[in-house]
Symmetry: C2
Subunit: 196 residues, 2 copies
């Protein structure tokens, strides 16, 4: 990649961050082939706050969008949510989430993060999981930061097909396909059988 002039770089930096506010200064420094302090200076000039601030702002907006879940029902920290389209959450694996012997994250924590993200994507007051196909690709260690990204692949009436990809850094650790059902009220689910 060519190095840009200062003006060009700042323009592109602003564009990059408005597309993906979760780039770290380190990642941007690599991308633009300048030092981290240059990136900080650029951000200062552009009035773009540091990553933590940006995450908080985006997360507040994302949480206010939640429909089928309450705030505390989303496992992990919600980073982005466009209902019916895409969503993203973050989970840091702490001591309480690892198996005593294996010291790796228990499968159901990763499942909970992914499943609640899938539910958040459904545009209805209530969403139920119908079926799931999951593949765990590698164990997740204590302290690792797990990012789950969800995409609505297809929607037909009250049925949603959602794909969730869970990664640590650039490495995918879990991938799954969900089929979910949107429901308008509680009474509907009392007798209902979920059919694929």
């Amino acid at each position: 990649m060519t190095r840009y002039s200062k003006e060009e770089r700042r323009k592109r930096l602003g564009e990059a961050l408005s597309e993906n506010p979760f780039f770290t200064d380190e990642e941007l420094s690599e991308q633009f082939k300048v030092s981290v302090s240059t990136i900080r200076l650029d951000r200062g000039e552009l009035g773009i706050p540091e990553l933590r601030e940006r995450t908080r702002a985006v997360a507040q907006e994302a949480y206010s969008t939640l429909k089928a879940l309450d705030d505390q029902e989303l496992i992990g920290e919600l980073l982005e949510l466009v209902i019916g389209e895409r969503a993203c959450s973050r989970l840091v694996i702490d001591e309480s989430m690892v198996l005593a012997k294996a010291r790796v994250a228990r499968g159901h924590y990763l499942f909970a993060q992914a499943n609640s993200l899938a539910i958040s994507l459904v545009d209805a007051p209530i969403a139920l999981t119908g079926s799931v196909g999951l593949k765990f690709k590698r164990p997740v260690q204590l302290g690792e930061v797990v990012i789950a990204k969800g995409t609505v692949l297809k929607r037909k009436q009250n049925k949603y097909w959602v794909q969730i990809s869970v990664s640590v850094g650039a490495e995918e650790v879990l991938r799954g396909d969900w089929i979910l059902f949107a429901m308008e009220d509680v009474t509907a689910i009392r007798e209902r059988e979920m059919e694929e």
Copy 2:
């Protein structure tokens, strides 16, 4: 079914309970076409304690068999465990496990019960989930008693195929197929990719 003489019935009752200690007196009463109090009398004569006592005795034995999990890592109450063969656990859905709006059990609690039961079936100090295919058949309500039954379908070297069927009463609410990997020690999983 024919009604048996008292002696014959007691003999068969003893056999039925040694095969499945979780029959309730009501179920036995239906099965043997006698009243519940007759069943209680029969049990008294045979020296077979009530269901709760039987469950406790079986559970103690089951917990002492756990290998890939610590006691508190098994989600639900372990009722039976023959490592490498079959296992059974029980989970009562309480307020903390239901979705605020839908009032049904959150998917990841049922997953956690099933997944930890699948792990308990692996004959190794460490077991990891590779892939899972799940089908949620109907929502589970607050207060319902959920029984998960696991069976090892096949085993090839360190790879296990396990089927888990989760029911409320006679109704299946979740069914899933697991592929798991047995590991002898922690170092083996640090670099390892799980392959199907």
